[in-house]
Symmetry: C2
Subunit: 349 residues, 2 copies
């Protein structure tokens, strides 16, 4: 672990802020003894809450601001109006080199808009993307974009593939992650023009990227590839459809265990194993969504997350910084000459 | 139940055909005493297998053919080359008025291509769509399109909304089903141009259609609306993402119950309740996918389905015919004047 990494934290974002955020930072502090925190928010409140967190206090600096981006603020309005908000100041700290990454559980759209404007995209990347982890039969995989870009060109998808591959390599572990393009079938002729053009380019790429081919919606949970690349529209729908199904299954399971005295007894015996199952599909473990493709690390914690979830989001920012995610992405993108590689049209055979 | 409905069955389609198909038809026969079957396939094989199914034999006619559409056949090739296939002949029987609906567990792409060519779309409908049921927290809902149309205009989506609403009303039960458009957010400014244009038209429609607004991926399993309308790309990804997650959850649950002696014991006590849970999320119950918008009823059974799944697919065809699905759809579509209702552009405010 590299020493003296500083993480900027928007302490006022999220349903249970600021208490939940501080508790999350305190968990992260125990995980990463070398990390410092730059906390943006209401100084009086933070000082009071931190009386009970003296060790966190020691490794933190507080920067006071009264302004907060509300959860229902429109991105454009937040961008223009909330320049002194805890969220914006945390991002600005990354831009100014005071912190290696910013973490917020606040308004996603506002965070993305501010991060884009303040940090700008890396050279060679047209649009940033939102990425997150998914539990799979084989472990974990990464999917992007999850909703930042409703419409995507082949060039966008290729850039996402590179960003996602470097991210998986930096954070997930596999030395040579495999990459798939989300589509409605695995044959080359399937899908719309942009996804076919992106596939043609990735197939022929000279990048050291292990392109698997097209994957379908059920390949996400199957763990067929390490990185799933999608436009923001279908990526968001895949993510939320999976979340909804997991919730439905949990609820059906809860009802099943309440449906008879025998089932209730069965629950008592199986409880410990079922709690482990819950931890395995626990959204808190998959709680950090990250914005990739920017000149800086920005991690979004889930708005409704608890301290453990927020600690996971902070851990992700620390891991990315410690593994030089930004520099690695830059160097991969430099290897890509999009003009040369993307055919302008792919004819369905 | 209306009497003397005849269902055309492609007996040769599906992984376990023809045996599984005949067993499925036999289950459906018990459910619907008034229904007759027109069976297309290898006469020698069918006659032999049906020695054990004398009651099915009584209500069935066999039409011999040697030709079969293979599961890996390309739709266009099947369309041109397999005019005497069991699949094609079953569809032709619907076109010729010999049967009220056709059911096949064979190659989906070929079935759709043949159905489009042989039956053609209903007046006022540009493209057929594939629809299916989903289990939800509130019961069941219908989603379409699930992959027949990768790219959809606002006009397509509006037609899908009408077809889906009539389908839900005919088969699912609610007198006034609610309809939602699948999107990445619930605000009016979200999503791409076509989905926003469709929303604007559905909001202002004079049709007796209860338009709810945009829904997101997690609304599918939540049962927020009765009918979810999507383009075929995102609908297919939502469907398969949900299927993959359900499979992941089942597998994690199986592992949890094997993880300790206590958990194994718990499983013994809870087994009956868990089997009910399995039946509740059982894909066989949701096994019929239907092609809507055609001049005739065509139901697709899952390729890997068993007899019970195939019986569900037949039941769906019978229900649609008995509830005058085609005529009801025609009369709703006639009420729609698309030209007049769909704004050519919706400006994001």
């Amino acid at each position: 672990m590299s020493q003296e990494l500083t993480i900027a934290v928007d302490v006022m974002g999220g349903d249970n802020a600021p208490r939940m955020v501080l508790k999350g930072a305190n968990i992260a502090r125990r995980r990463f003894p070398g990390v410092r925190f730059l906390l943006f928010g209401d100084e009086a409140k933070l000082t009071k809450l931190m009386r009970r967190l003296p060790r966190l206090r020691k490794v933190s600096s507080i920067r006071h601001t009264d302004e907060v981006v509300t959860s229902d603020a429109k991105p454009i309005a937040a961008l223009r109006g909330a320049r002194r908000s805890s969220m914006r100041l945390a991002i600005d700290a990354v831009r100014d080199g005071e912190a290696v990454g910013a973490v917020s559980a606040g308004n996603t759209g506002a965070l993305m808009a501010m991060a884009k404007v303040a940090l700008r995209t890396l050279p060679g990347i047209d649009r940033p993307a939102m990425a997150s982890f998914f539990p799979t039969l084989k472990g974990e995989s990464v999917m992007l974009d999850l909703g930042a870009n409703v419409e995507c060109t082949a060039e966008n998808l290729i850039q996402f593939a590179i960003m996602g591959e470097v991210f998986a390599r930096s954070v997930l572990g596999p030395l040579q992650p495999t990459v798939g393009l989300l589509n409605v079938g695995s044959e080359e002729v399937k899908g719309h023009e942009e996804v076919r053009r992106a596939a043609a380019a990735l197939r022929d790429t000279r990048l050291p990227l292990r392109y698997h081919g097209f994957v379908e919606g059920d390949d996400i949970a199957a763990g067929t590839v390490d990185v799933i690349v999608a436009d923001g529209f279908s990526g968001n729908i895949a993510l939320k459809s999976a979340e909804g199904t997991a919730r439905l299954y949990s609820e059906f399971l809860r009802q099943a265990f309440k449906s008879s005295p025998s089932a209730r007894l069965g629950y008592v015996f199986a409880r410990r194993a079922l709690n482990k199952l819950r931890a395995r599909v626990d959204p808190r473990r998959y709680n950090g969504a990250v914005f990739l493709g920017l000149n800086g690390i920005v991690v979004k914690g889930h708005g409704g997350s608890d301290a453990l979830g927020f600690a996971t989001a902070i851990s992700l920012a620390v891991d990315m910084a410690a593994n030089d995610f930004i520099d690695k992405t830059k160097s991969e993108i430099e290897k890509l000459d999009v003009e040369q590689q993307v055919p302008s049209q792919v004819v369905a055979s």
